[in-house]
């Protein structure tokens, strides 16, 4: 059974020959560059000091290069936009000095400016003449969006202002997706998760639009959340227009890549906090579900792709809604949040949702526990989730920095032990 067959079997809720493994196929199933560096060193893949590429500049995720994927037996690979969260392409690599001195390479557009207090600023599309759109505090490991909220005049609110980032996929973008998918199909037997962009409604990480030079409309995080209550019809109209654009783009993307991909990343909008959902099931059904359902229905009617939803936090109360919206794959399965008992989730939703994640707690265990505790937790999670397929191993969200190297090795040793590798 090759990697793609293994993943597809798991997605059909049948047990594959061994648990499939994802690392780095999406921006929410990867690893911070410091941890990638430590893992590569721990596995003996590089001489000390060999830099690792930062492939996602917002969270500073490290590249899961083919040799690392091979060493770990990773079964999935991702295809995403040719532009990063800050709007520049991943090309023309050069060395860069990270706060923690991890040797890293960044693309040419990764242009940072220091601030007097030691933090660094990032500019949209690498353009230093545009106001900065990201800030990493001194000693930090990732960027946060700088909110650039123009003054809001209730009478002049325009739906178009929050649609600037949504438009038809260009011929160049479509060629990129076609080329990348063809290259992966020709060179590996791995499953592919594609993220064509523009399919998530109200993703709070994307609302500030750090890749746009001069965003208009509602861009402040608190303002956006407030708007979902106090300006709901306005938000609904944004979603309705975005949905039409997204449907047309899915059709174009399907014409470009056909059935050569296995899953499509539709949304990373977070609907859960550590303690409970961000909104009531009723509000979810009213504002989000109808649009998500249209995308899912289109994919299921026209393709063999499975659909992927990422939502952090406690979303147990919303899982019936996710199922009703038609999603096939749930990530990151944050069982460390309230009401997210893993055995209960598998019992209630395991025949309808593939759990893509949930393999180990990255908030506490991986960062702070002993290697033995990491191994024990990985074994326990696989035992709970792996039954009857419907499981792709991944950590709960991206692996953070400051993880002891021995814990990184323990994590993958436990996974490989189970997989008989």
């Amino acid at each position: 059974m090759n990697s793609r067959e293994r993943v597809r079997r798991a997605l059909e809720h049948a047990e594959p020959d061994r648990i499939p493994l994802d690392l780095g196929a999406t921006p929410v199933t990867g690893m911070h560059v410091q941890s990638v560096y430590r893992l590569r060193q721990g596995l003996g893949l590089d001489p000390p000091g060999t830099p690792v590429k930062i492939v996602e500049p917002y969270q500073n995720l490290g590249e899961i290069a083919p040799d690392l994927a091979e060493a770990l037996g990773v079964d999935v690979v991702g295809v995403g936009s040719p532009r990063t969260m800050f709007g520049f392409p991943n090309e023309d690599w050069r060395e860069w000095r990270a706060f923690d001195d991890t040797p890293v390479l960044v693309p040419a557009g990764y242009n940072t400016d220091p601030e007097p207090n030691g933090s660094v600023l990032m500019h949209p599309a690498g353009d230093r003449t545009a106001p900065p759109s990201g800030r990493m505090p001194a000693g930090g490991y990732y960027f946060d969006a700088i909110v650039r909220q123009p003054p809001l005049d209730e009478a002049k609110l325009r739906v178009e202002d929050n649609l600037e980032e949504f438009g038809p996929l260009s011929a160049a973008d479509l060629a990129h997706f076609r080329r990348e998918v063809a290259r992966i199909r020709a060179t590996t037997d791995r499953a592919i998760v594609a993220n064509f962009g523009g399919t998530a409604f109200g993703d709070i990480a994307l609302v500030p639009a750090p890749w746009l030079k001069h965003p208009r409309g509602i861009r402040d995080i608190e303002e956006w959340y407030v708007s979902t209550v106090s300006r709901r019809e306005h938000v609904r109209e944004i979603f309705a227009r975005q949905c039409e654009i997204a449907l047309a783009n899915l059709e174009r993307a399907h014409a470009a890549v056909g059935e050569d991909i296995d899953a499509v990343f539709l949304t990373g909008t977070d609907f859960g906090t550590q303690r409970g959902p961000f909104l009531s099931p009723r509000a979810f059904r009213d504002l989000y579900l109808p649009f998500q359902k249209r995308l899912n229905d289109w994919v299921h009617a026209h393709t063999t792709w499975k659909t992927f939803i990422h939502s952090c936090g406690s979303v147990a109360a919303l899982l019936p809604e996710f199922v009703a919206a038609g999603f096939d794959i749930l990530n990151p399965v944050q069982w460390t949040a309230a009401e997210m008992d893993l055995a209960a989730l598998k019992e209630r939703f395991g025949d309808r949702l593939t759990f893509w994640g949930g393999g180990v707690d990255t908030q506490r265990t991986l960062s702070f526990a002993t290697p033995a505790e990491v191994r024990a937790q990985v074994r326990e999670c696989i035992a709970l989730l792996g039954r009857n397929g419907g499981f792709v191993f991944n950590t709960i969200h991206n692996v953070q920095p400051r993880v002891p190297p021995e814990n990184l090795l323990a994590l993958y040793e436990a996974v490989q032990d189970h997989r008989g590798l």
């Binding site: 933090s119 001194a138 000693g139 608190e222 906090t273 550590q274 961000f278 960062s367 953070q400």
Partner: protein, 214 residues
């Protein structure tokens, strides 16, 4: 007079900022004492908002709308309270710890603490330990509220608590901690006095601990 207080309370629970501000202005114009408006209308109504959140009637967006309404009301009431020399329940220095830029949770905690009758000194996000120490000294605070959203920054809470100890202030202040990656066990481990899972419970906890110490 009670009608006016009831109307204020209802406007807050309905998250109607414009109406709330109008009602507060009206009550002041009618001669109601600012302290009475705070204690008999805003504080119990904010507690009701917290209860609705804890019981799953309100969610984060509704809390943010209610917090905005409360802030609007306090902007009107605050100067009048100060002029009337109304003593706060306690003085809070709050902030997101060094290296962490997330502030929505912290802002909400500040609003609910303010709504419970505390005087708030919000230092913002990415606050170094020395700034917490200086603010406690400057304002004579008896509560320090620390927030962190990240696994990589929650460890900086301990540095802040240690800095308070080094400055000889640790016994004078109640240290409360909160944020997504935290747990009661972690709070105890770093020597905090309390942990709250959300803003509503943070306000209740602060009020209880301050009263116990008084």
């Amino acid at each position: 007079m009670d009608d006016k207080l009831t109307a204020i309370g209802k406007a807050l629970v309905d998250c109607n900022q414009a109406l709330l501000c109008q009602e507060v202005e009206g009550a002041l114009a009618a001669g109601l004492a600012p302290a009475r408006i705070l204690q008999d209308a805003l504080v119990p109504s904010m507690r009701e908002v917290g209860r609705l959140f804890e019981e799953g009637e309100f969610f984060l967006p509704e809390m943010l709308v209610a917090a905005r309404a409360m802030k609007g009301a306090m902007a009107i009431l605050g100067p009048r309270l100060a002029a009337a020399d109304v003593r706060p329940l306690g003085k809070v220095v709050a902030g997101t710890v060094e290296g962490d830029l997330h502030d929505i949770g912290k802002n909400l905690v500040c609003t609910l603490l303010g709504g419970a009758g505390f005087e708030i000194h919000d230092l913002g996000a990415d606050v170094k330990p020395a700034r917490f120490v200086a603010a406690v000294q400057e304002h004579g605070a008896n509560v320090v509220a620390l927030s962190a959203l990240l696994t990589t920054t929650m460890v900086n809470m301990k540095g802040t608590i240690d800095a308070l100890a080094a400055a000889g202030l640790r016994k004078r202040v109640i240290v409360l901690v909160g944020g997504a990656p935290l747990s009661p066990a972690y709070a105890a481990e770093i020597g905090a006095d309390g942990f709250a899972p959300d803003a509503s419970r943070a306000a209740k906890l602060a009020a209880r601990l301050v009263t116990e110490r008084a």
